[in-house]
Each structure stands twice: as C-alpha cells, then as structure tokens.
Amino acid sequence: MEWSILEQYGPSLLRGFGVTVLCWILGTIFGMALGLVIALVQRYAPRFVGWIVQAYIEVIRGTPFLVQLFVLYYGGPLIGLRLDAIPAGLLGLTLYGSPYFAEIFRAGFRAVPHGQIEAARAIGMAEPTIVRRILLPLGLVSSLPALVNFSIILTKETVILSIITVPELMYQVGRMSAETYRYLEANLVLALFFWVLVEAISRVGRRVETRITKHLIERT
C-alpha cells in the first residue's frame, strides 16, 4: 500500500468528488421534477399524450445510461445538438432518472386511498387543490423510501459521466491508477468516497422518513 500517492492526487480526487456530488444533486433534483411532471401527465393528460409519455419511459428505462450518454454527447452534434461535457452530463442524468422517479410517484399516487380523493371531490374541492393538498402529500410520503433508494442508485450512475470527460471522481481515479499503477488504492478510494456519500444520503433519508411517518401516525 502506497499512501504517498494520495498526497499527490488528493486535491484532484477531492475536486472530482465535488463534481460528483454536484452532478448528483442537480441530476436528482431535475430528474425528480421531470419525473413528477411525467407522473401527473400520466394521471391527467388525454390518452394519446399518455402513450407518448409511456413510450419515452420505456425507451429511457430500457436502455443503459452509458449508451444514452454516448449517443447524446457524441451523436448529438450530428443533428446539431452540441453540448459541453457537464451540461450534457446533467441533461443525461435528468433524462435517465425521470422515468424511474415517475414510476415511483405513480406507485405513490396509487397508494393514496381512493376514498380520500372522493371525499375531497364530494366536498367540492377543485382538482388542482386535490393534487396539491391530498395526492402530493400522501403520495410523497409513501414513495419516500423508494425515492431515497433510487437517488442512491443515481449516485453510482454518475461514474459513467467519465466517458464524456466530465472530471468527476471516476475520471480522476482512472487517471491516478493509469499513471501510478496503484489499483488497489484506487479501488479503496472509490469505495470509501461512495460509501460516505451513500451513507450520508440514507441517513438524511431515514431522518426525513421517521419525522414524516411519525406525524402521520399521530394523526390517525
């Protein structure tokens, strides 16, 4: 084990980790937002719009992120879409995550007892208000564990951004191991950084989960 290389590569590894975290946070937020829109469109839009959205979901869910990113970044210029590495990476993450988030929200909405929505309609609540006051809060609570789960999966998809030269952690680790031949150290660095990130996310997720469910239990 040769830890002196960490002194040399430490700063670039930390920078890489910063880029990873940033891409993950933005990708998750945008992906969730798009996913929520998709889930609502699926619930309320006319049939044919629903079919188009469904086709989008199936294509994105059915193909690997690596392939999507490659086509977006290297194939995009052929049709005039020329993005830099980081914007392309963020767009890729957003598109990739959105159908999974949409499915999670859909399942969450399904878990909202029908009676609640009917009751709201009966007392004359407008549909947008039902979405805001009943569907979203109740649906979000039951989808929380799945949202955290998928956000964690998304952290590890960020390593694929290295193929389009986004200088994230994997890119920096790849550079370190190619230049120093220190593979074991490189793997340990990757494992450690990701474990820390994922552990932090699931801790926050659990805290939010307990707080929200406690609140629900008190009510019932």
Binding site: G62, P64, Y74, V196, S202
Partner: protein, 215 residues
C-alpha cells in the same frame, strides 16, 4: 453519415452476447431475492446484533459501486490466494449487490402493511415462520412488484459492468464491435435496441403481474 449496414450487422454478435447479460442478471436477481429476504428478516428481528449486522450489510453493498465490488472480489481476493472463476464472481457480486436493494424494497413494503395483521396472526397462535410466509411476504410481494421489476431492469443494465472480469456481454461486445468498425454510434444504438427489447418484455411481465395481483 449514419451507416445502416454497420447498424444492421451489429445485431448478430450483440444478440449472441445477450445470453451472458440474461444469465448474469437472472441468476443475480434470484440470489438477490434469497439473500435480500434473509437480510430483511434480520433487519426486522428482535435481536440487536442481527439488526446492526444487516444494516451494515445494506449500507456497505448499497454504498460501494458494483464495479469496485467486482474488482475487489475478483482481483484483490486472488492476492490472498482465493481464486474464483469469472462467471461465479460476476453472479455472486451482482446478487449480493441486489440483495441490499431488495431487502430495502421488502422493508418498505412490510412497513406499509397494517401492523395489526401480524399481531392478529400471532394472537391466533400462528408460528412466526408461518406469519412470514403466509401473511407478510405474499402481501409484500404484491405491494413491491413494481419496485422489484424496476430492480430487475436495473440489473440487466448493471450487468454491463461484469465485462471487467472478462465476460463478453452486450456492452462489452458492442465496444469491441465499435472498435473494429470505428462506428460506435451505430453499434451503440443497436445495443440500445437489444436492451430495450429485453426490458420491454420485463416491463410487460411486470404490468401483467401487477394487474393480476391488484388488490
């Protein structure tokens, strides 16, 4: 610019490679279901040590990227004299990684079940193992079906990582094909089509099951 012949010619070697993708992901999910169920049971047990160990398991295998797990399992264990065959290493690592996610899916589904059911079952004298197999798991399966199918689809795609131990699955085969033809875009789009077909079948299966088991 886009070469249709290269695109069409790519299908044959890639379909051939798809059997490894399917083998690894199907065996991986089976192993993941078995281990994941045990881990979930341990997480919900009354024994503190078991609970902590299971939580550590989930945290570790969810936290460390599958690629790193594979490299460590296949290459680093060889340093201390444990030599495992590549296919075994691939299935095992994919399965272990899936178990962490599956146990969380179970846990979420079980948490959604009314607590009174299990208590009632115990009250009428059911054995704990029967409570699991007859009351908890059947309902948990119904609730978590969409999430499980999601997980299987993710696994089909994650199986591309096993190329690192020398298994020629779809992604690796398309990289090789791309490097021979120097037309990566055409080859990757062909690979995307094959993944899409596999996952559309899985998705359809999921919807069918979901429909049949809807409460």
């Amino acid at each position: 610019m886009f070469s249709i012949p290269v695109f069409l010619d790519s299908f044959e070697p890639l379909i051939w490679a798809a059997r490894y993708t399917l083998l690894i992901s199907v065996l991986g999910i089976v192993l993941g279901l078995v281990i994941g169920t045990l881990i979930c049971a341990a997480r919900l047990s009354s024994n503190m040590v078991l609970r902590k160990l299971a939580a550590l398991w989930v945290s570790f295998f969810r936290g460390v990227p599958l690629l790193v797990q594979l490299l460590v399992f296949y290459y680093s264990l060889a340093v201390i004299g444990i030599d495992v065959p590549a296919t075994f290493a691939a299935v095992f690592t994919v399965g272990i990684c899936a178990s962490a996610y599956i146990s969380e899916i179970w846990r979420g589904a079980i948490a959604a079940l009314p607590k009174g059911q299990a208590e009632a079952a115990v009250a009428i004298g059911m054995k704990p193992s029967d409570v699991w197999t007859r009351i908890i798991l059947p309902q948990a399966v119904t609730i978590s079906l969409p999430a499980l199918i999601n997980e299987l689809i993710l696994l089909v795609k994650a199986s591309s990582l096993v190329s690192v131990v020398g298994i020629m699955e779809i992604t690796r085969a398309s990289q090789a094909q791309a490097a021979t033809t120097f037309r990566p875009l055409e080859v990757y789009i062909a690979a995307a089509c094959i993944y899409l077909i596999i996952n559309l079948c899985l998705s359809a299966l999921g919807r069918y099951l979901e429909h049949r088991t809807a409460i």
